[in-house]
């Protein structure tokens, strides 16, 4: 444990400062090339640089390479390769809008390095009841997990700062869970995700100077999913991610098909006081944000804080569950 402190500190410093220092020049570069999009939740025509995925993936790769230099594990290699593949998939989608099926299928393929490197344990651990061996089913779980976590984080990237702020809370909760279940190496490998998200949040928080885009959101989600698999904490990761899972669940249960989020009607409207309220259009999808503003119009910042409170609540549930992993009925 003591010998892991130096790699942990070094990788966290690299993760934070690479993103913190690289994002401002990236914003200037994107603005210069007119790679900006309108912030739809602002009254004026505010243009925001996009995508910020490049600084996110650079921070993740740099910090995980530092860790690999110390630990040389296949699990870290799997995190680097799968997360990088997810970035490329997101970047393609940022530059050219692809169909609704492109990302899930491509992300499923991006999960194959985890299988190829054997960086998983097919025993699925549940709290209180122990583990279950599902060798064949677990391969399917890996293939499904990366598209689910990637698209789940992508679908919650709807307001200034929400995706990165949510990722800070969820990945920090997951790191604590990994420490509790005494998987120290993967716990340390997950900390860079906390610091990359935190550094990016500085520029993504309201009012955003940069949006992560699909390349950033898929990078966040794919790394989170890969950590869950290689760390053997799939259930804990799912619990910490519950608010984003609810968002995807509500969306899919109202739209009833897999579709590109840019092709659907906006579920919220902007009031003259610059507050978000639920649309009266019954054909618009039900989302987490729509539910939050259903009874009362709220500002973008207020909605973001409600989502963060939900993330903290589910993070606490995940930590309680991690303690329950050591208890057997």
């Amino acid at each position: 444990m003591i010998e892991l402190i130096l790699p942990a500190v070094a990788s966290c410093i690299v993760a934070f400062f690479v993103v913190f220092l690289m994002t401002p020049p990236l914003i200037k570069f994107l603005e210069k090339r007119n790679l900006t999009v309108k912030d739809v939740n602002k009254k004026e025509d505010v243009m925001v640089a996009r995508p910020g995925g490049l600084s996110i993936i650079t921070g993740i790769i740099a910090s995980e390479i530092v860790l690999y230099a110390f630990l040389q594990s296949n699990e870290i290699l799997a995190i680097i390769i799968t997360t990088s593949a997810a970035f490329v998939i997101g970047y393609v989608d940022d530059r050219k809008v692809m169909g609704g099926w492109f990302k899930p299928v491509a992300l499923a393929i991006a999960a194959t390095p985890i299988i190829a490197l054997g960086a998983y344990n097919s025993d699925l651990a549940f709290p209180l009841f122990g583990t279950v061996q599902i060798p064949v089913l677990y391969i399917a779980l890996i293939v499904f997990m990366i598209p689910i976590t990637g698209n789940t984080i992508n679908s919650i990237d709807v307001l200034n700062g929400v995706a990165s702020g949510f990722m800070v809370i969820a990945s920090f909760s997951l790191s604590i869970c990994l420490f509790i279940v005494q998987n120290y190496e993967i716990a340390i490998a997950s900390l860079p995700l906390v610091f990359v998200s935190l550094a990016f949040y500085k520029y993504h928080k309201i009012p955003s100077k940069i949006f992560p885009g699909d390349s950033g959101a898929l990078t966040f989600g794919a790394m989170y999913g890969t950590i869950a698999i290689v760390g053997g904490v799939e259930i804990l990761a799912a619990i910490a991610l519950l608010p984003a899972v609810i968002n995807s669940f509500l969306f899919l249960s109202s739209v009833k098909k897999i579709t590109e989020h840019r092709q659907i009607k906006n579920p919220t409207l902007m009031t003259p006081e610059l507050k978000l309220k639920s649309t009266d259009d019954v054909s618009a999808p039900i989302t987490l944000v729509r539910l939050i503003v259903a009874s009362k119009a709220l500002s973008e910042k207020q909605v973001g804080f409600v989502i963060f409170k939900l993330a903290i609540f589910s993070g606490i549930l995940a930590i309680i569950t991690a303690f329950m992993m050591g208890v057997s009925l």
């Binding site: 209180l128 009841f129 064949v136």
Partner: protein, 76 residues
């Protein structure tokens, strides 16, 4: 509304714990024999089918709960 969302999260958590228990108790000890080398594969396929059925039941329960908790708010 906000308590509704926290309640929904809590119910999802309970369902995960209960689903985990059922998975371990039903799928864990399950094994099949009489097919030779295919025993392991057929056993896994059956486990996969049972797991998918459990997930479908989980989604159906959540759909009902969603309507129950958010009936007033969801105008669709």
């Amino acid at each position: 509304m906000k308590f509704g969302l926290f309640g929904f999260l809590f119910v999802m958590w309970i369902l995960i714990l209960v689903g985990g228990g059922i998975t371990v108790m039903i799928l864990g000890p399950f094994s099949i024999s009489g097919f030779g080398e295919l025993d392991w594969f057929i056993g896994s396929v059956i486990k996969a089918i049972v797991a998918i059925i459990l997930v479908v039941i989980w989604i159906l329960i959540l759909s009902k709960l969603k309507n129950l908790i958010f009936r007033k708010e969801i105008k669709s």
